[in-house]
Symmetry: D2
Subunit: 365 residues, 4 copies
């Protein structure tokens, strides 16, 4: 059954946007990233609204549902705890699951601030389980290809990183947990800028200092709507990190550009199958990242038959299962909880700079 | 179980490229296009190579596999026969399945020529089952949106359709069934130009005449490598229909443009999430087709979180299940076997024109 | 004075769109393409409307104006006759000027049909003067670069040429000479498709046959509004040649693509400073054609400081002056009157095909 | 002669890149922006290298040349002093010319720092002559159109401005005056970032504070190679201002984006004929800024026949002549010397922030 592949029991917290994306990831990798290192078995899903969580269980094929996440932690059939819940439910359940011996993956941002993130990382790391922060954009084929090109020296010395994550839904007057400071910790910062920071670290390296500002356009809103910052990297590159929910006309435009002495790369998440590469000063070539030898592509289709946003989760969860199965480590291509913490430290420094009006240096605890 | 949704037994012929795409479609619609009108139950898969087909059955979760497609036809648990096999296996199995009372979907081109396609259609239609030709590009959200805009009169009178399907793998020296005239019927014509013809008919209407040429670049190859033709539509529009496997640098570039008196639309399959629309002469706006009210989008993600090529099959198979469940008909948004036949008639006319050097009028039998 | 550069007296017929473009060309090359091979001296300009032509003379700096073009022909100070008049005034004045010993440049299309074009070419060629048909798009830097790449073998064997010239102003109800068959000869065919044919010949080579259609959308209009055709080249390439004045949203979109065994090129006149080049199957690189070693760029600006449509005339007229000064020939980079005739022969064949419904072979007289 | 248009004598300092651009501007506007408000008469050109300046005089048609700029100031036939010299020659000659009663236009940056710029402005303004800082990008048709759309309220409340000016030639080891701090004042800051600051002010309004950094990649170079900064606007918008000479593959990529509550605009100087406009959240429409009713277009060609970088100077110098002729003022569409000073004040604040590590508030003297 299932080709004799060893199963792994998954317990998931959350059934909304991220829960749907993760559930789809497990189901899809089971036959597309074939053969999977472990065969996900959707054991249990937790959510407070029984009607909604039971419907989600039926829809996604979880064997059971619970309304208290502690039951996932004590469930002996759950071997991997997948935290797709809101930010205020990241720390405690993730720590509890790890301390119960379960591998953990937690959505980003890891905590509502650097301190909380640090605690999660430390507590989880002490248990020895495999752990991952779900920075799924590391698993866009074009992003992995960018990393490969940079590691191979194709860009030479890196001069610049410019990253911006632009969305447009900020002017909504709907009540969503993402605007509630207690639940979310921050606004565009933890939601969007954290992704920019993570890819900056993944592609260019550690950030030495930041200076910038945050801004809330919507009267009465507790969290930031936009983040603007300048970053200096330890390796000598300089650039910008920006994020906003107030970029009318931009749906999900996480774009970045890296300039090096030997070439440049450019990317836009709205066209995530493409990587633009200027070899030297020759001009930008549009690579449709879908060749047989491109990252992750062995699982998919003939070249030119593009994939979607959701596939980043297939790649990410496959990577995690590989690590759990003993095929390599989560790092460096997956973000560990340490990476989750480090991103939070940079985000907190931007907040500090916004308040202090000063360039803030990043120091890790 | 499965939320109490009525199951439908699926028997599939073929496990290669198209088989993988269809299998993924059934699995995915079961939880993403929720609730599905019928719950696909993957009963049996057929293929001549037992090792390969049994592996495919395990991978995709079919309950059993067979090496003779006739067993699908006689299998009482198969209610829907999915023909994802090569072109030479389209006619006989599809007819046999329909005559055994099973609904059928058949990959394109329906037959290896118009005559064979006509027979399939006539024989299947006589049985009263639901039937579909798998012209999946009708199920790209941007294509459906284009159809909606045209139907709403947003383009006014249609002047032009220009469609071209460009791929680059033609120079290969590998032996593939697509180069074998007995198996494939034709080359770029049935494989690629048929898609162009189908969307031309779906978006603009019936074609009155064609004139053109086919060309084989590779010495010794039996089938056409490229098709170039001029088309005149019954409604008065004129344009071109082109397809080639020799467009170096183009991976899967099925692009079309439609010009009307009130506006124009443009599309490229390599960026299938986008539709370009010029309202009047105002210039082309890039619509990222991912808003909540865009076609098919209720099943997916927040806007800007793009989908991939494979999702066209999710939409297509869902549409078929809807028709089987009694929620509307396959036509006009799905291609019936009649549409499969009609596309073949246009393709044959291009072939005739290539040989005769004359403009050939389309007449349907 | 003028740096001691030998002057050449220019007499121009026409002061409208093309007259403005040519006048600007002469004035600009005098100091930008420095030092010019000959220094243009704007001697005389001819037009029937005295008020308008005298105003044009003042505006552009012609020493005098005349209302009868014969006076240009008999003017001893006119050494170069520039025919920027409407199509019906191409043949007789151009022949007369050449027979009076003046070098000639004539706007395209050379004649209103192939027969008239042939006569102009033959009569002018017999005189021994330098002659040019003003196919200015040969003088776009990106087009010249394309030619260089093709000549250097960078594209390998050429498989395809697809050229389309799309404009949108056709629905106008204004009376313009371009809609009058006696004055213009044809519509989109001679105006736009002729450019496509000329670049097809310049970049890919002679055309062996065409089949296609023309169409007039506007009731009562004498000339064609659109041209759709398939072309087969002597060298084995196949493709399409299209032109229309009914492509709503397209302002001046002369785009072409060439696919070869080693790579592909793509171009769009609305972005005339760019050439897209796929080296092999690597994907299209956007070359901003403005490097110091790019064609014509020694006269202009630092790279990236783009030029405009009008600059094609600067390059073209400079090329003609070079030939007159004895620095090389008009051919192959400039279009001679023979090239003007040959383009007309292809255009006439498209017309014949439109009427006969047959593939028409091109034979030159 | 010259249509009876009143002449204005021009004396120009400098004959290199900017001298060529300005000379071309005067010559071209004389017949293209017809009828010009005043007819430029190229009286005298100054440069230290006699051979070079005399050649330039012949080439561009100046009546005489001088090797000492003071002679331009004392030349009674010079009515307009055009300072196209290097930055260290901006202040003294411009002041001297104005105090001699000549109108002045000075290349940017106005001075080598805010103090010098302030002095020039004050001294010149006191004389009552017309004055302009040559921020030519205000005269790109797409930029003027952007301003019109913003003024008409089409963008609503402005949330963001993101501007970056990217070039790639920084790694050169050539000695150019732009790397000499005494001559240039600064590097990418005054050369490129000053343009970004000027358009930010022109389109969005005054900047309240900046924080950022400058960086020099090339060992031993005196001036900055790159500038990265966050800007807060008085009106409440926040964003970034960046400039670099180390963006390999970017030739002249001055791009900016503005997001407002009702829509967004985006622009890239490498495609200067285009403006992208999202009306609300509808997605970005590519406007080819070349319609008859678009800014400056009445002087040029049928729509779609694009113009080049050099044309910004035609528009700019025409605007200045209009002001001198009494047809309106230099401000607000032209940059006055006050605008030149204000841009310098912002640039200086970025420098201060780079050194202090603090957010610096802009105060004008």
């Amino acid at each position: 059954m299932s080709g004799g592949i060893r199963p792994i029991g998954v317990g998931m917290l959350g059934y909304a946007f991220m829960g749907k994306a993760h559930a789809n990831g497990y189901k899809k990798l089971s036959y597309m990233a074939w053969p999977p290192p472990l065969m996900p078995r959707l054991v249990s899903i937790a959510g407070r609204n029984e009607e909604a969580v039971s419907a989600a269980a039926v829809r996604y094929g979880f064997e059971r549902h619970v309304t208290d996440w502690h039951e996932l932690v004590t469930d002996p059939e759950v071997e991997l705890f997948d935290n797709s819940g809101p930010n205020n439910l990241h720390a405690e359940p993730t720590i509890a699951a790890a301390e119960a011996g379960k591998h953990v993956i937690c959505e980003k941002p890891l905590g509502r601030n650097a301190g909380e993130s640090y605690d999660v990382w430390q507590r989880v790391a002490a248990t020895g389980v495999k752990h991952m922060t779900a920075f799924n954009y590391r698993f866009v084929p074009a992003v992995r290809l960018a990393r490969q090109l940079i590691e191979a020296g194709e860009l030479g010395e890196i001069y610049h990183f410019r990253g911006r994550y632009l969305q447009e839904w900020g002017p909504t007057t709907e009540e969503v947990w993402r605007f509630d400071k207690k639940l979310a910790g921050s606004g565009a910062l933890g939601d969007l800028a954290a992704h920019v920071v993570d890819l900056a670290r993944y592609l260019v390296g550690e950030i030495a200092s930041v200076s910038g500002t945050t801004h809330t356009f919507m009267p009465g809103r507790e969290v930031d709507d936009a983040v603007e910052s300048v970053a200096e990297f330890e390796g000598g590159a300089v650039g910008t990190i920006e994020a906003t929910r107030f970029a009318t006309g931009r749906k999900n435009a996480f774009s970045w550009e890296i300039n090096g002495s030997k070439g440049s790369l450019a990317f836009d998440l709205e066209r995530l199958n493409e990587l633009e590469h200027s070899e030297g000063t020759k001009g930008f070539r549009r690579i449709l990242v879908s060749e047989a030898d491109h990252p992750f592509w062995q699982w998919w289709w003939p070249h030119g038959h593009i994939i979607g946003w959701e596939h980043t989760f297939v790649h990410e969860l496959h990577h995690l299962l590989d690590a759990i199965a003993g095929n390599g480590e989560v790092a460096p291509h997956g973000a560990t909880l340490e990476d989750g913490y480090r991103a939070a430290e940079v985000c907190d420094a931007i907040l500090r700079s916004a308040e202090s009006g000063r360039r803030e240096h990043i120091t890790y605890r």
